[in-house]
């Protein structure tokens, strides 16, 4: 008797990963449902382009489906998926970066703390950072990883990661200075 429609949505992630590894596409679909917002947001912060980020996110999940049998510890699915996503972005990075020729960034105008406007300005500001700096900043602020965790994840020395984050934060503060004094608006749910 096949599982009911709520079975997958209620199952713990470890179980879904185990089922998906053995070829259960419904289980993988449930995993994609749970993780797609996170991966898409992460890639949007990395590449600054919504369309490109969604394409990369799609590639990420397709690679995850192909390589899932190689995941030895289902409990580490989240960290493994993040690694796949960032590898996909790094491969994309090797192609000519269209953002490198982008017009010099300037603020959109009055800074309002509405999610859509903040996301646009944040992505534009991130796009002005060199890629290694951008990656470290995203992992620090978006993923809330510590410097040590970032250093281990990206394979850079701890001192380099700290330097990247310091320089990146200074530049972002400068670019987004309008938000320092912007009135706070309740975040939309």
């Amino acid at each position: 008797m096949p599982p009911g429609p709520d079975y997958y949505s209620r199952s713990p992630e470890v179980l879904l990963v185990g089922l998906a590894r053995s070829g259960d596409r419904k289980a993988f679909e449930a995993l994609v449902n749970r993780r797609q917002a996170w991966i898409r947001n992460l890639l949007r912060r990395c590449c600054g382009d919504v369309t490109l980020a969604d394409d990369l996110a799609q590639q990420t999940f397709l690679q995850a489906w192909s390589n899932l049998p190689r995941l030895q510890r289902p409990s580490r699915f989240g960290a493994w998926l993040k690694r796949v996503a960032l590898n996909v972005w790094l491969q994309q990075r090797r192609k000519p970066d269209p953002l490198a020729e982008a017009v010099e960034w300037s603020p959109t105008g009055e800074a309002r703390r509405e999610p859509a406007a903040v996301a646009i300005d944040l992505d534009r500001a991130l796009a002005t950072l060199p890629e290694p700096v951008r990656l470290c900043i995203v992992l620090s602020y978006h993923e809330r990883m510590t410097h040590q965790e970032i250093a281990e994840f990206v394979g850079l020395p701890l001192g380099t990661v700290k330097s990247h984050i310091r320089r990146g934060s200074e530049r972002l503060r400068e670019r987004l200075s309008a938000y320092r004094d912007a009135p706070r608006i309740e975040e939309q749910p």
């Binding site: 898409r40 947001n41 996110a57 799609q58 397709l62 996301a119 944040l122 987004l176």
Partner: protein
Amino acid sequence: MTADRDPMLQGLFDIARRDPAGEQFVARIMSDINRRRRWTMFARLFIGVVLLVGAWLVAVPVQDAVNLMIQILPESLIELEHQRAARVLAPLNSIAGLVAVGVLGLGLALRKLLS
């Protein structure tokens, strides 16, 4: 080691973290996965058919070769008049025997070369 983050920047990152509508996105991925699965099945079926056809094509020549071997292997190398001696020496006095000796000798030679 803790990471000191600028509160203003952290706040902006948190605000920018939206929940994009996922239904279309998920549907696109599952459609891709299903399409790849169909292509994989088709490729396996195609390879299976090619192997079957190949086996069918070579089956007759292989069978002819086997029949020929069965006929010539027992042939005597030297005709012996004495019937009893012919029977006793049949295993050696045949093409099969010659082939067997040749294979054994080659095996010993290879073993000596590689040791």
